[in-house]
């Protein structure tokens, strides 16, 4: 009997939602770390009961929590994220250079093969790694050499928010930073390459096709085809068929191509999902309708999925890390909103129902498929 465990990070704590493969009845556990911002909770593919959570708030800073029993109990591990050497400066809003300073952890991505190895994406943008289950963290400083002095914060901060591990090549990792762009390493994190060719930021950058500086909101891949990437940029949905060397737009008939998350179906590598948001000035769904858009052709042709989702007077947002898929035979899609709802579909998006409706604003959603 399979089961799913949905790991939800919110503005005021973490919640764990569990169900069997029917995904009709749910148990809700939480809030864990009540009152704290939980930017991300994620599980180890190598040991699903090993979870990691990023716990922070504006008063008391950053903690990292680890669970060895699927979230029943937690222990704090090391929370010292010290940049290697002198990290130098980066651009900021007023045109001055500001020193790099650690603020919080946005993303925790465990290794595909070792539950003690975890990558952490942080603000100010950098990548850290632990190989001892969180007892210590070390920066991968080569990333900042990829024109880090030209990166600058987006409205949410200069954050490394997305980490994709290539299952076919342990030395290849893709990451995304707002507002710097997407980057790739092919040597396990020693050196990094900007992979932003084809991106056009006509109203965000003085040079719309700059090598770095783009506000990439999220990238996704299907594990069977790690050379094919999908991107939700500030504006524009794009894809790359050559591991990010070149991107082209696939926004097609979307009502707006602004948005935050993007996800790939677990069993159909050309089926992708986005949640269009009205604009960068109005961060809510257009027309008061919460619609997930699905493309079964890898982009360009999109279909609105509305069955079970509110279609009037809805003005929520879905943040970049707040959509995920399970791996059950009938693929489940999950997303959380800034209004505190977590919606689930057990049929690839054809129909939806809320698991919970009244959580704090949802920051992140991850899903574990348990056997």
């Amino acid at each position: 009997m399979s089961a799913v465990r949905v790991l939800v990070g919110t503005r005021k704590g973490a919640f764990i939602l569990t169900s069997n493969e029917q995904r009709k009845k749910w148990e809700v556990s939480g809030p864990h770390f009540a009152g704290w911002e939980i930017y991300h909770v994620n599980g180890s593919p190598a040991d699903p009961d090993r979870l990691y959570a990023s716990q922070s708030n504006g008063w008391f800073g950053q903690l990292i929590q680890r669970s060895n029993d699927g979230g029943k109990t937690w222990e704090a591990v090391d929370n010292k994220f010290a940049y290697e050497g002198n990290p130098g400066t980066h651009q900021t809003f007023d045109g001055t250079q500001q020193p790099w300073a650690f603020k919080r952890v946005w993303n925790l991505t465990p290794s595909l093969t070792d539950s003690d190895t975890v990558f952490a994406g942080v603000e100010d943008a950098a990548m850290f790694r632990t190989t001892d289950g969180g007892k210590s963290w070390q920066e991968l400083p080569g990333l900042r050499s990829a024109k880090g002095h030209l990166w600058q914060p987006g409205a949410g901060g200069m954050c490394l928010h997305t980490i994709l591990l290539d299952p076919s090549n342990p030395d290849r990792i893709f990451i995304a930073i707002s507002a710097a762009g997407a980057f790739r390493t092919d040597d396990g994190g020693k050196t990094w390459l900007p992979i932003n060719q084809g991106l056009k930021s006509n109203f965000e950058l003085p040079d719309p096709e700059a090598e770095v500086g783009h506000c990439v909101h999220n990238i996704a891949m299907h594990p069977s085809r790690p050379g094919v990437l999908f991107m939700q940029k500030h504006w524009d949905v794009l894809r790359s068929d050559n591991a990010g060397d070149l991107w082209h737009e696939v926004s097609g008939n979307l009502p707006t191509d602004f948005g935050f998350p993007i996800a790939v179906h677990a069993h159909e590598p050309e089926t992708i999902y986005v949640v269009p948001i009205k604009s960068d000035s109005e961060h809510f769904v257009p027309d008061g309708k919460l619609r997930v858009y699905r493309s079964r052709s890898g982009g360009d042709e999109w279909q609105a999925l509305t069955n079970g989702l509110p279609q009037s007077d809805c003005y929520v947002n879905v943040l970049r890390t707040a959509m995920a898929v399970d791996k059950l035979d009938s693929c489940g899609i999950y997303f959380g909103t800034t209004g505190g709802q977590v919606y689930a579909s057990a049929d690839s998006g054809d129909s939806w129902a809320p698991i919970v409706r009244d959580l704090p604003a949802v920051l992140s959603v991850e899903v574990q498929t348990l056997s």
């Binding site: 009152g35 504006g58 008063w59 008391f60 010292k80």
Partner: protein, 98 residues
């Protein structure tokens, strides 16, 4: 013994009550109190002061004897009434947000 009052979230993290008593050898200063606090409760490292710079976190305040001592030097001697436990050294989360 020096008496230190913790804000709610730090009590939760340290799994302790509102007030903790600490043995501080030598001069009682903000730094020596926080060193003793973090030695007793390692989970609090980084929550009151930055782990790298050792600077007080921006929204943390230190109150004692009816005074805001937040902007005093971390190495300045604290009043004798704190050192001898008559007064409490309060770590406070500043009013911020709504």
């Amino acid at each position: 013994m020096i008496r230190v009052v913790l804000p709610f979230h730090l009590q939760q993290l340290a799994n302790t009550g509102r007030e903790v008593e600490l043995q501080v050898d030598g001069l009682a200063t903000q730094r020596s109190i926080l060193d003793a606090l973090e030695a007793r409760y390692p989970v609090l490292r980084g929550t009151v002061r930055d782990q790298t710079t050792q600077d007080r976190r921006a929204f943390i305040r230190f109150f004692a004897c009816g005074e805001d001592l937040s902007h005093e030097s971390p190495d300045a001697a604290l009043p004798e009434s704190i050192a001898n436990g008559k007064e409490r050294f309060m770590i406070v989360g500043a009013m911020a947000g709504g």
